[in-house]
C-alpha cells in the first residue's frame, strides 16, 4: 500500500538519521552552542513535520528565518489585494496559502464571505485558464513567492501575451531572498553560526549569490533539500565546516540544484519583472531592492498599473513580534502572545498562518514539552499486536 515515493522516501529513513545524528553529536565541540538559521520556511515545515529536532543535540538550535513568502507579506498588501478582489467584475486568484492571511481588513476568506470572488489555484496557469473561460471578467493573479515562484508567474504572463489575453493581470508580490538574508546578517541583535540555504530558490538562482555570506560574513551556508535527511545532512555539513574552520557555500541538494541555477528561469523573470527600489517585509520593515514588480513593457498585465491600488501601510499589531521571530531573535514561544492571543485560529502575525510560518509550525507540531512527548511515544507493553 505505502509504496515508496522516489526521491522522497529515501530521505526519510530513520536508520540513516540515527547514524547522522551520532555524527552530528560527535562534531559538536563540548560546551559550545550552535545556532543555525534555516532561511526557508519549507525547511521549518519539514523540521516540525518530521520531528527532526529529536535528532539534534541540545547544543544545536535551529532558528527559523524569513523564507516564508506568505509570512513576509505586509498587511497593507493583503488589504490591497482584497481591495482589488472587491472591484467590479474581478476574479482574484491565489494560492491556498494566502486564504487565511489577515490584513487590516480581514483575510481572503473574510472577503469571500463578504462577496468577493476569490479562487484558489494550484498554478498561475490555472488563473490564466480562468481568465480564458471568463472573458467578461478581469482575472488577477495574486503572485507571491521568492525566486522559486517568480519564473512561473513570468512564464504565465508571457503566455498571456502570446495568447493575447487582455483580461489577465498579476498583482506582483514576489520577493528576493538575498536582500532579506543580508538584512538579517546586518541586524545587530543576532548571533548565527551558519545557514541552511533555501533549496528551491537555489534551483533558480544557483549557489553563487550566497558566496558573500561565506566570504564577507564568514558564515558557512549549505543549500539543503526538503526531506528531513537533507536538513540533517546540512547540519552535519555546516558543523563540519565549523570544525574544519571553513566558511563556504556547499550544495547538499545537488540532485536538484545546479550550481549555476536555472538560466531560462532567470531570463523569464528579468524579461517581465524588475527590482523594486524597496519593499516592506512584514516584521522586517522596508528592505531595499528586495522585491520584483512588472516591467513597464508588461504594464498591460500589471494589476498595479491597471487598477488604482490604495497602497496603504498597516502597522503590525503592537503585540506582534513576528519581526523578531523572522529574524530568529526570538523563538516563537517567546513572543508574548504566542498560543494565547495568537493561535492558528486567531492569528495576530502571519507566522501563525502559513504552515511554513515558524509560529504555526511550532504551535501545530511542537507546542508541547519535548520530554513528555518523547516519553509518551515509547510504546507501552502489549499495545502493539
Amino acid at each position: 500500500m505505502t509504496l515508496a515515493m522516489r526521491f522522497v522516501d529515501e530521505y526519510r529513513d530513520a536508520d540513516k538519521a540515527r547514524a547522522l545524528a551520532a555524527r552530528i553529536a560527535d562534531l559538536c565541540e563540548p560546551g559550545r552552542d550552535y545556532k543555525f538559521m534555516e532561511v526557508c520556511g519549507g525547511h521549518t515545515h519539514t523540521i516540525y513535520k518530521h520531528g527532526l529536532e529529536d535528532y539534534l543535540p541540545e547544543a544545536v538550535t535551529l532558528v527559523h528565518g524569513p523564507g516564508c513568502p506568505v509570512c513576509v507579506i505586509p498587511m497593507g498588501r493583503v488589504d490591497d489585494a482584497i481591495h482589488l478582489a472587491e472591484q467590479p467584475d474581478v476574479i482574484m486568484t491565489s494560492f491556498g496559502d494566502m486564504m487565511r492571511v489577515p490584513g487590516g481588513n480581514g483575510s481572503f476568506f473574510d472577503a469571500t464571505a463578504r462577496g468577493a470572488d476569490i479562487r484558489m489555484v494550484y498554478s498561475p496557469l490555472d488563473a490564466l485558464r480562468i481568465a480564458r473561460n471568463n472573458p467578461d471578467k478581469r482575472v488577477i493573479f495574486m503572485a507571491i513567492g521568492f525566486e522559486t515562484t517568480a519564473p512561473s508567474t513570468a512564464m504565465t504572463v508571457l503566455r498571456a501575451q502570446a495568447e493575447g489575453l487582455a483580461n489577465f493581470s498579476v498583482f506582483c508580490n514576489h520577493v528576493t531572498i538575498i536582500p532579506a538574508i543580508k538584512a538579517i546578517l546586518d541586524s545587530p541583535d543576532l548571533r548565527l553560526d551558519g545557514f541552511i540555504g533555501p533549496g528551491h530558490v537555489s534551483t533558480v538562482i544557483g549557489c553563487t549569490p550566497y558566496e558573500f555570506i561565506a566570504r564577507d560574513y564568514g558564515k558557512p551556508l549549505v543549500v539543503a533539500g526538503f526531506e528531513p535527511l537533507d536538513i540533517l545532512q546540512s547540519v552535519y555539513m555546516i558543523l563540519r565546516q565549523l570544525a574544519e574552520n571553513r566558511s563556504e557555500v556547499e550544495n547538499q541538494y545537488s540532485r536538484v540544484v545546479p550550481w549555476e541555477g536555472n538560466l531560462k528561469a532567470i531570463e523569464a523573470i528579468t524579461t517581465t519583472m524588475e527590482t523594486r527600489a524597496y519593499f516592506e517585509w512584514r516584521g522586517l520593515g522596508f528592505i531595499s531592492h528586495s522585491a520584483l514588480r512588472m516591467r513597464e513593457g508588461y504594464a498591460a498585465y500589471d494589476a498595479e498599473h491597471l487598477f488604482a491600488v490604495p497602497g496603504g501601510r498597516v502597522a503590525d499589531p503592537k503585540a506582534c513580534q513576528c519581526g523578531e521571530v523572522l529574524k530568529g531573535v526570538l523563538k516563537p514561544w517567546e513572543c508574548k502572545v504566542f498560543g494565547t492571543a495568537c493561535t492558528p485560529e486567531t492569528p495576530i502575525g502571519t507566522c501563525m498562518v502559513s504552515s511554513e510560518g515558524a509560529c504555526a509550525a511550532y504551535y501545530n507540531f511542537g507546542r508541547f514539552s519535548r520530554e513528555r512527548v518523547k516519553e509518551a511515544t515509547v510504546r507501552p507493553q502489549g499495545a502493539r499486536p
Binding site: A22, S123, T149, M155, S254, E356
Partner: protein, 93 residues
C-alpha cells in the same frame, strides 16, 4: 518556502512541447516544462513547483548523496562494532 515535489515524465505532449504529463505516485498532471532545456524525455524525473518544472533531477547526484548517507550509516555501524569490541577487550583486560 516553495513546495517542490519530484515527478516522473510520462509523456511530452506532441502538440505542446512545453507541456508534459508527469506522474507523482500514480497521480498525473500536465506540467509546464518550458523552464528546462528541451532534452527531456519520458522516464526523466523533474522537480515540480506550482505546475512548472524547475529542474531536472540529477540521478547521479542523488545516488552519490545516498551513497554518502549509507556510508555514514556504515561508519556508524563500524564504530558501534569497534566500540563493542573495545568494551569486550576492556572486560577481558
Amino acid at each position: 518556502m516553495c513546495l517542490g515535489i519530484p515527478g516522473e515524465i510520462v509523456e511530452i505532449l506532441p502538440d505542446r512541447p512545453d507541456l508534459a504529463t508527469v506522474d507523482v505516485s500514480g497521480v498525473r498532471r500536465a506540467i509546464n516544462i518550458g523552464l528546462l532545456e528541451d532534452d527531456l524525455e519520458p522516464g526523466d524525473w523533474i522537480l515540480i513547483h506550482v505546475g512548472f518544472a524547475l529542474s531536472k533531477i540529477d540521478e547521479d547526484e542523488a545516488r552519490a548523496a545516498l551513497a554518502f548517507l549509507e556510508s555514514i550509516g556504515e561508519a556508524y555501524d563500524e564504530e558501534i562494532a569497534a566500540l563493542r569490541e573495545s568494551m569486550i577487550e576492556a572486560e577481558k583486560g
